[in-house]
Amino acid sequence: MALLQFETEDVTKANRARAIKTAIIVLPLIAFILSIFIGRYELGFVEVVRMIFSPAQHSGEIAYSIVYDLRIPRAILGLLVGGILAASGASLQGMFKNPLVDSGMLGVSSGAGFGAIVGIIAFGNSQAITILFAFGFGLIAVLLAYMIGTVYKSSPKLMLVLGGVIVSALFSSLISMGKFVADPTDQLPSIVFWLMGSLANVSYAQVLYVLVPVLVSAIGLSILGWKINVLSMGERDAHALGINTRVIKILVVALSALGTAAAVSVVGTIGWIGLVIPHIVRMLLGSNNRVIIPYSFLLGAGFLALIDILARTITSAELPIGMLTSFIGLPFYVFLLRRTKGGGW
């Protein structure tokens, strides 16, 4: 009798996990479809359907260019950026066994921010150059953080986090200096908008910049997920289990940095997704990083695309998306924390 009870309990647990996984898989799809139908410019349902199913006959119409040149690239970018921020956050949290870490903590965001400012001040408002500088400085920041982290041999994982904090602080002050130096009528507003993060003014070109680094990073991190499990047992244990801890650490940091730098360089800094989404997935689906990383990607993707719909529809002026992610993500996070009491940290 007792055995039977255990079994049914296991079955309901497994069913629950399967239902949650299905929901997380479907979410980005729903978000994508909604983003095509909903927007500032009023397009009827039928009209959008017509654009989707017979595009050839309607090219040249306003509705066509709204669907294909604005809404679809923007939705794809939102999915990619949200996904990679969450997946790299999940990987780094898993590896460092530190709930406060996300890819921003490695200095990527502030490095990229500074790079963007250099681009804006030195080369004016050329989007491609701003992106290139942001990407480059994002990676440089992580490299610096890593080098600072290896100064001490004693607790290298914690040291890397500390290195990231130091580098972030350095680039934050450089960002302030950049704002101070910038031309207040022209450059400063660009800088401020960049730093707030936005998916506006998106084109397929930007989707292309982001696509390859994000996919490489997301797939690589998902594959490494199980090794991250072993690494999270601690250095000595992981070594005794046959893990080359240095190689795996470098791979995880490099892949996270690559994806995040690409995302941040295009949309600016969007906070809290990398921190909150992995926690939510952990609470829902357990501790196995092989599961957590891909599902964090999916949930982060769906979440950011949905938030972006809100950002461009709830007021007549578009709201900064970074502000909305924290406004909506954080209360939900606190709610889940209360329900699961932190679950494992």
């Binding site: 066994k97 594959i223 499990n229 000595r236 070594h239 046959g242 080359n244």
Partner: protein, 261 residues
């Protein structure tokens, strides 16, 4: 042949010498109990054997092969390690933890397959943990956790299992349970065990159970006394090493126990 052979091993942290020309030979199926005061070098020796710390002088041979030729995962196929205690980890299920033992047998970038799950399940079964497979590791008692870690070392399928004070955080009941399982495992599988501990009675326990056991009594980075527990763990030697007055009790069935006074 010696499955583990250590010659003239020398190790220092900065300029503090921790191991000094240490020799140790262990044969297949043998239990070696490392004893000695805190800081005498037991843990460092285990770290050198698993390769977590690199020794500068001397050599470690595993089954006749110098360990320098082994990659990290080759080493892990031959030597498994059970830590003192495992805390501050994610709430992995017991099965997920035991599966980690399969790491050296899995590709550099892969995850475990069905075959690995079967081996892990078998390891759980041999430790009497089958019904724990889906439980959260972090919710187990200290003794159960140690059994899971031993099951993990079995899944690793290494000939040599090192245990670093595996019972130091356990109460008496759990301590005896873990020792008994280690004894059963050695009997059943013929694994070679090197166990660091603070309890002289652990050496006596294995001797009383008629296992092939040697005690190694450390003093400042060297093995001062080595041999059968009843030869090594005498009143005089313990007084010399720990500076503790003690009595070695002998029961009517010849089994022995150490009591401090």
């Amino acid at each position: 042949m010696n499955v583990l052979s250590i010659k003239e091993l020398h190790f220092k942290y900065e300029d503090r010498v921790v191991l000094e020309r240490l020799d140790l030979n262990v044969s297949q199926g043998e239990v070696v109990v490392l004893l000695g005061p805190n800081g005498c070098g037991k843990t460092t020796l285990l770290d050198c054997i698993i390769g977590y710390r690199k020794h500068e002088q001397g050599s470690i041979h595993i089954a006749g092969v110098e360990d320098k030729v082994f990659s990290i995962s080759d080493k892990a196929k031959r030597v498994a390690y059970v830590p003192q205690s495992t805390s501050n980890i994610f709430p992995y299920t017991v099965m997920e933890i035991v599966l980690m033992g399969r790491n050296p047998h899995i590709g550099k970038l892969s995850a475990p397959r069905r075959k690995d799950s079967q081996i892990a399940q078998e390891a759980l079964r041999s430790m009497g943990l089958t019904q724990f497979a889906d439980r959260a590791f972090t919710k187990l008692s200290g003794g159960e956790k140690q059994l899971v870690m031993i099951a993990r070392s079995l899944a690793q399928n290494a000939d040599i299992i090192l245990l670093d004070e595996p019972t130091s955080s356990l109460d008496v009941k759990n301590e005896m349970m873990v020792l008994r399982r280690i004894k059963d495992m050695v009997r059943k599988t013929g694994k070679t065990v090197v166990l660091a501990t603070h309890q002289p009675n652990h050496a006596y326990y294995f001797e009383n159970e008629n296992l092939a056991v040697n005690a190694a009594l450390f003093v400042q980075g060297r093995i001062k006394h080595y041999g059968a527990p009843s030869k090594v763990l005498t009143k005089q030697n313990i007084a010399e090493v720990y500076n503790v007055d003690c009595e070695i009790l002998q029961y009517s069935d010849e089994s022995k126990a150490f009591v401090a006074r």
